[in-house]
Amino acid sequence: MLLGPALGLSAILFSLGVAGVLLRRNAIILFMCIELMLNAVNLTFVALAQLYGASGQIMVFFVMTVAAAEAAVGLAIILAIFRHKQSVDLQNINLLRG
């Protein structure tokens, strides 16, 4: 049973996703890194579903749905921002600054 190796792999993928979020400024690539992290988490669900039954896989199902919804809305937001600023560079997006 591939429990440990699967969890280790998911740890590596998740860390890579975090590294991508920290390193890149392109909002779309940032988004892809987040998808990568979600996939890493899905991998742990599937790995543990071997022990805990179908519930883990159903959770993956839900995560995928949420991820799809998030991608749709997120990309729409990026489109709107791009229209506004002609850029998707996070350095130019600092509306949070009061």
């Binding site: 699967a6 390193l23 892809m32 899905n42």
Partner: protein
């Protein structure tokens, strides 16, 4: 045999992910991410989750990533200049991600036996076969009714309400995306 296949796909996934985050070109990054997702789908099969593997390919690698590529090309970001952050950010990234990886990679050493002994109240009953009886039942169920049937039964019985709520979430996401992306909103 299974181990070998697993490690091959694992290596492939890690390399693709690393290339994904390091590629300057957004289109190549997206394609490397698709490659990661394919290898993950293969790994799902190795982990007895064939249905998940299928929708991983269909939904993620197919639908979601295509959506990403659409947007990238729509915005014409393919030939963007480097968007890497500066040296101090790289240093901070190395430290943070290093610590995170060290902490998370500790999970690598887990076996069913060790997990069972950790979560079991009485050490004498730390046999994974008894602690994780549900997993074995699920495997028997899948063998009897097929993979999809084993998954569909709980999804439309125990998880019916969350499932319906998910459908509302998707509807809201569709409406939201349309409103946000519409010109002259």
């Amino acid at each position: 045999m299974t181990q070998t296949v697993f490690y091959v796909f694992a290596a492939f996934a890690v390399v693709s992910a690393a290339l994904c985050i390091l590629q300057r070109n957004a289109v190549s990054a997206a394609l490397w991410l698709v490659s990661t997702m394919f290898s993950l789908a293969a790994i799902y099969v190795l982990l007895d989750a064939q249905f998940i593997a299928a929708i991983q390919v269909l939904v993620y690698a197919g639908a979601v990533m295509v959506l990403f590529l659409f947007v990238i090309m729509l915005l014409n970001l393919g030939q963007a200049s480097s968007d890497m952050r500066g040296a101090s950010s790289v240093a901070a990234t190395v430290v943070i991600v290093g610590l995170l990886a060290i902490e998370l990679f500790a999970l690598w050493r887990y076996t069913p036996r060790r997990l069972a002994s950790e979560i079991s109240q009485a050490p004498a009953f730390a046999d994974p076969a008894t602690v994780f009886a549900a997993g074995q039942l699920a495997q028997q169920d899948a063998a009897a009714r097929g993979v999809v049937g084993g998954l569909a039964a709980p999804l439309f019985q125990i998880y019916l309400v969350p499932f319906e709520i998910t459908s509302i979430l998707l509807l809201a996401a569709i409406v939201g995306a349309v409103v946000l992306a519409k010109r002259n909103a």
